[in-house]
Symmetry: C2
Subunit: 402 residues, 2 copies
């Protein structure tokens, strides 16, 4: 069930250990499910209980430590030898008296790692304040270092197989967007449009199926377009409504997000104008992308473009994207924003999302791309425009079947 | 956009403050998105960045502190006055130098809360080890206490409106299960079945739409039935395969989960036998449910029932369920397992999930129920049996439309 070669997993581990050496980390406790997957292949919806992958600098294989009922999933989905898969008993789950990090601390002690320099993903969703307290208590002689995003930075340049998976995700994203835009109409319930988008995301294409994206479709409509992270309701769409759709295709946990804006009926001038500004800004930003450029330079191109038109946007305009699990498809490394001096390199992949949310309306447009040797390549290719729906009019060019 | 009365929100807040007083907490930092929603109504997919609801013992309204672009969502979805909604700038997001808890700490200082006893949800997904470090640094004179699950315990007894929402979720769960079982067949891709289940979950019923469940459908098949938390692949189903389906219906973030086992073709004797054991065990456990019984007594009834048949199961058989967000629909309070002496009361709601996973096969069966004045009531009512699929044979009794 491995979706990458053993060679690729070993290379990932090698690069992780290289960074561990640079930062003086001897034992790395990996709790981010995307990082666990990246290094071991492990894949299951078990991250709602505590679990970890332990990378020890002088051991050839990591250890998987997780809940007993998930140990078989680790055997089935990872490349680890079975003796590297260590289950903890169920009474550690949601307990007031015991905690999985008591168990993890004891294992580290038993295998002689209790006095080492231990790297922790201190700002990961799946490493709570309590996990740290319990681990400190279990290993009083260890030295702890913050290794948040250490593996995330290893992930930032994708292999050719990863790019292929993200392109598949891109194909799924385009299909899901098409289905969504076609379904939106006066009198249709928001949830029925969302249902069709979900179906398209999971069904995928006849050649390959879809995986669940790390974020559900975000579809604010009407006055809610002033805010980007509202999902859907069971209200019906009214005439002259703007709808923002942000979604992703996902293949083997790799994402290609995509956002577009739709209006039901002719848009108000202010929406049309804002949309033009955003499309121009996208083109200006994409134009500068090539290896050697920094993240902040990409943002600057966008900023200049919209400033000419009298707009400004305070939030970042994009971030590194790829392998992930809920609640976020962003990689938490490079961001396209002022001050981020990460230098673009071939096979880095970004989601550039240009959202401008005014007090009572907004427009969104995004593209997922990889950096190539000379510029960029889109991962999901959908018409770049404001979609204006008139009853009975076909919107999407060409004959792509859903 | 409020889905409960102001009175209900005030009652929730009152009971939360009552518990705060009992535990000597003056300021409660609520980071669990379900708890934030429960107390304020706030609803959006923004929990992938740090945010919190601050309950101050002597203030009538909580404060919402979150990312700037989500402040409008707080205005739209919560009952809080707008001056209680405090946005932090975007440069706090995924930054190496600044952290949202620097901002939150400073706000608490500014409003005179820096020397108080502050309760923290220390073991919540959305309160990382780093959040705690930064808050300690910002508020050196505060006294911190672990308040993990304080609000979760307030949530354990549902109001009549909450029960109504969970029953709607139950109707959606039954529809989604029916669609899934009907779609499973030899030669069908797992992802295509998953796509239909998702569609049914989100579409809901003609009367009310569905919301996204906190966990995606879990659908291990074949040898993967030895493990409960695998999702789906794009492989096609083979003859003589067992499939476990665990899913939930969700309405306004309230869940009713449901699990069933399906075989394609006549099951092996061992699967049939295990299924009978599990059905008997379910009935034995449900039979004892009524107010006054403890959680561990429910588990004991199940344990006795399966022991007679020579089986045992080490993991808990259920947990309190209701309002939630990814990655878990469980409430992290009461569990149906040895040692849990929580006393059942009317309008507590549980998901009792009886899974037995052997080395190379498994069976799952679950029911969501509320405790009534005299016993229990199912929230999702689906036939309680092993579903055996033969080509062309209708499986589900009755004529319920999907």
């Amino acid at each position: 069930m491995l979706h990458f070669t053993h060679g690729e997993f070993h290379e990932r581990l090698r690069r992780t250990k290289e960074k561990m050496v640079q930062e003086g980390i001897e034992v790395l406790v990996v709790t981010d499910p995307a990082n666990m997957n990246y290094l071991s292949g492990y894949n299951g919806w078990s991250f709602y209980v505590h679990q970890a992958l332990i990378v020890i600098i002088d051991e050839p294989q990591p250890l998987w430590i997780g809940r007993e009922m998930d140990a078989n999933a680790a055997k089935v989905t990872s490349w680890l030898f079975h003796e590297h898969i260590i289950p903890y008993p169920d009474y550690y789950v949601n307990s007031n008296t015991t905690h999985p990090y008591d168990f993890i601390g004891n294992i580290l002690k038993e295998i002689g790692q209790s006095k080492r320099v231990i790297g922790l993903e201190m700002d990961n969703y799946y490493f709570s304040a309590k996990c740290f307290q319990r681990l400190q208590k279990a290993l009083p002689q260890a030295v702890f270092k913050d290794s948040t995003n250490l593996v995330n930075w290893v992930r930032i340049i994708k292999s050719d197989t990863e790019i292929e998976y993200m392109k598949r995700a891109g194909q799924i994203a385009v299909r899901a967007m098409k289905v969504g835009i076609e379904a939106i109409d006066v009198g249709v319930r928001e949830c029925d449009v969302a249902a069709k988008i979900f179906e398209a995301q999971i069904k995928g294409t006849p050649e390959f199926g879809g995986d669940y994206p790390a974020i559900v479709p975000l579809m604010p409509a009407g006055e809610h377009t002033s805010t980007p992270h509202i999902t859907w309701s069971d209200e019906t769409y009214k005439p002259n409504t703007t709808v923002l759709i942000e979604l992703a295709g996902c293949y083997q946990r790799y994402h290609a997000p995509l956002a577009r804006t739709v209006t039901i009926g002719e848009p108000e001038e202010k929406v049309k104008d804002l949309s033009e500004v955003v499309i121009e800004g996208m083109e200006s930003a994409l134009d500068v992308i090539k290896p050697g450029i920094t993240c902040e330079e990409v943002e600057r191109a966008w900023r200049k473009s919209i400033q000419k038109r009298g707009y400004q946007k305070e939030s970042r305009i994009g971030y590194s994207v790829g392998l992930n699990y809920p609640p976020d498809w962003g990689e938490h490394t490079a961001s396209l924003r002022p001050g981020d001096q990460t230098v673009l390199k071939p096979n880095m992949t970004f989601h550039m999302i240009l959202g401008i949310w005014m007090d009572d309306y907004g427009v969104e447009l995004s593209e997922s791309f990889r950096v190539t040797e000379t510029g960029y390549e889109l991962l999901a290719s959908a018409p770049r425009k404001l979609f204006v729906k008139h009853a009975g009019k076909k919107l999407w060019p060409g004959g792509m079947g859903a």
